[in-house]
Structures are given as structure tokens and as C-alpha cells.
Amino acid sequence: MASRRLIRLALAAVGAASEILAMAAEAPPGMVAIPPGVYRPAFRADSDLKEIVVQPFAIDRYPVTNAEFLEFVRAHPRWRRSQVKPIFADSQYLKHWAGDLELGPGAATNAPATWVSWFAAKAYAGWKGKRLPSTAEWELVAGSGTTLPDGEKDPEFLKQVAAWHSSPAPERLSPVGAGKANFYGVHDLHGLVWEWVSDFNASMVTGDARGDNGLERRLFCGGGAQGAKDVSDYAAYLRFGFRSSLEARYVVHNLGFRCAKTL
């Protein structure tokens, strides 16, 4: 009996593994296929979902670079620095570039594209036939360690991530791909730049509809990370705070993005 169950378990495991491999084969070039998973938000209000099922999707291996973003603005003049509508990007948009179509010394070709608004990132993704990842998708992938799908079980990984979050961003950003790939083979989710997600404006509810300011209170009051599912994941806590402070037209020196695609 027991052995039969073992065989069945083994078969299921093989099945799951081959499913993952099959999906890896389906990812478009430059992207990595992520098998379905469950995202458990590190911070949530009492009324929020405890678990969010994430359907299989693909995500860019690296953040979008200056060179790639330059191709986009070449193709779409309305996203050039001099032509972008102020409602879609504030006045600092692409300010580190030398000109509309010139990167210059302040923006290395293979460094992540930053100083871009959510609208610009979204438009770029649309141009590529992709979209921005959701918070759940991004966090699911970013939550994996270098060797384990569950980074929370990897104290070394948590330490590295926390170390990046506590050090100031360098003047010049490093090229993408310099860091180690994570469990899925995705680079630079931590340690290079923050990244836009499609639903950044769901990160926190201020002035909540039903007078329930639970999440906000927990994020900002003395208890700090008390709403956290796992207090050790302080970096996730910082990301929530950061996202909640953004507006869609904001541009920031160390805020970039990468694209995703539904499989």
C-alpha cells in the first residue's frame, strides 16, 4: 500500500516537474516562464485575501534597459522627453538622457531604464505585446531565493535583499544581469532598481471606503511591521510602503520596470 502511494507521489512529482519544464519551453525569447503559484501577501488588511492564486505567466529575464527604451521612443515620438504629455509623466521624465534620442554619459545602454512613469512603462509593454506584471506576480517571482522557490526559507537571501534596501542607490546604475539569477532564472529583482507593477495603486488604501484603515495604520504606526506575515521579510514591507507613495506620473532615479505576459 505504502509503496504504491510512494510511486503515485513520485509520478505526480515527475508530472509537475515536466509541466514546469514544458512551460519553460513556451516562454518567448528574453522571458522566463513562471509556473502557477500562490502569493501570500506579506502585509494585508483583515479584509484582504490571504492567498492570491497566480496563473502561469512569463516575465522578462532582465529589467528593460535604456537602449531598449530608446528603441521605443524612436518608434513613438509621443513618448520622447520633449513631447510626453505632462499628465503621463512629470517634468523629470528621462532626465538622465542627453537628449530626446540620445542616451549620453548619464545613461549606459545596458543599465535599467529609470526616470520613467507608470504610463510610459505600460506603453512600452504594450508596444512589445506584453504588459506590466501585477504585484502578486512580481512578488511571487521576487520571493524566490537563489536556490529555493521560497526565499523566506533562505536566510542568506533575505540578508542580501535587506542589505540592498538599506544602502543608498548609486549615482550610476550597474548594467542589468550583473547579479545572480534567482530560482526561476530571473535577474535583478533585488539589488538594482525598484520596479513598477501594473496595480501599484492597489498597494495601500488611504482613506478607506469603509472606514477601515487597518493596513495603513499598521504600515505607519509604531508597531511597524506588525501586519507582516513574516517579520523577517522587511524588504517586502519597504516595497509596499514605496509603491503606496507613488503616483502614476512619477519618475524616480532608481525605479525601472520589466514586462510580463500571460501564457
Binding site: 488588511a45 479584509s47 484582504d48 485575501l49 490571504k50 521605443f72 518608434a75 513613438h76 515620438p77 509621443r78 513618448w79 513631447q83 504629455k85 505632462p86 499628465i87 503621463f88 507608470w118 504610463f119 505600460k122 506603453a123 504594450g126 508596444w127 504588459r131 501594473s198 496595480d199 501599484f200 495603486n201 492597489a202 498597494s203 495601500m204 488604501v205 488611504t206 482613506g207 478607506d208 471606503a209 469603509r210 472606514g211 477601515d212 503606496s244 503616483e247 502614476a248
Partner: protein, 227 residues
Amino acid sequence: MRENPIIARKAFWFAASVSWLVLLTGCAIPGRPSGSVDPGADALSGQSLYQLDSMWTSDEGREIKLAALRGRVQVVAMMFTRCQYACPAIVHDLKRIEGALSDSERANVGFTLISFDSERDSVEALRDYRQTQRLAPGRWTLLRGGPDDVLELAALLGVKFKKDASGQFSHSTLIATLNPEGEIVLKQSGLHQDLEQAVRAVRSAAAGARKARPVAKPEGKRAPDPR
């Protein structure tokens, strides 16, 4: 090699009609007579919400871009019809603004409600909502749209929202006043605000609209939207 006469003739007529069009538009832009031009043809300012290209459906089943709201002051809020507490309060606030205006002021003002709930707020649900809330036809616009477009509009207005475990939406409350060009002139968040400020903003935007209306603003053509 001889040219095919039919193609040559077609090419001639094509070239002739193109140059005629160029002439026409070339003449029309500099000395545009203000009264005779469709206001929709004027370029929108870079701060206008009506830059959005997304399509929305009204409770009358009309498919529109937000730019269709251009020309009147709009008082805008996002909501969903199943909302028990905040949304009825927001709608109540909008009605108070409506009630504070004189008849002549009201003629230049519209009220627009946009639903968060792409899934359940169908055209019928919005229509029912209009009935139960007794929202004047013509003055009130109720819109639904796809989830991505709702997210984008919320981002533009600065409204935060998310679906919670019970399928309800947690959301920030915001009343935005847009001038006739779709630029936000006032944002008020929170419930049960002192609405006098909003009423003043609506009045001055409506007064500005009456003065500004005959002025044409040629700003060049819009680039095609990659989104």
C-alpha cells in the same frame, strides 16, 4: 516601357485629391474661424484627462471615449454599485454639489460616475443604479470599462483601490472637478467633506468655460497612441 494609362490616371487623381486636402487643412489651421469648427478637433492640453484613448460604455449602452465629456465642467467620482457605504455617500455629495448650483450653472455641468467593478457592473446594473439613485438623464453619465482601463483611470485620478476577500472593493474616495478641457481643477478626498470648495471650483470652471469657449487652440496633431 509604357505606363499603364489607368494607373497613371488613378495616380493623378489620388495626387490631386491629396494636394487638395493639404491645401484645405493648410488654410484651415491658421485663420480658423472659431464658431464653425468642431470643438473636438482642437488639440487637448497635455494636462487633460481626455488624452486617454480607452473606450467606456455608458448605462445607455453608448461606447465612448472620455473625450466625449469635453465641453462641460465634469464632477467625477469612481464607485461600484454594490458598495454599501462609501459610494452612496460620494453620490450623495455629488448631488449636494448639483443642488447648490443654479439652473443656468447646472446647464454647463455634468456628473460622471465610473465603476471599479468591471465584472459585475454591467450596463443593466448601472441603469438600475441610475433609477434607484434618481440621477438626472443628460446631466449624469455612468460608465463601465475593462479592468485595465479602470486601473489606468484610477492611476490618473490618484484613486487607490483593490478587490478584497469578499469581492467588494476597498478604495479611496475622491471627487475630482474637471474643467471643460478635462483638466483636473480640484481633487477632494475623504467622505463628507465641506463641499463649498467644490461648488466654488465648479462655478468658476463653468464661468471660465463660457468665456473661453470661442477660442480655438491649434496645438498640432496628436501622435498615434502605442498603448
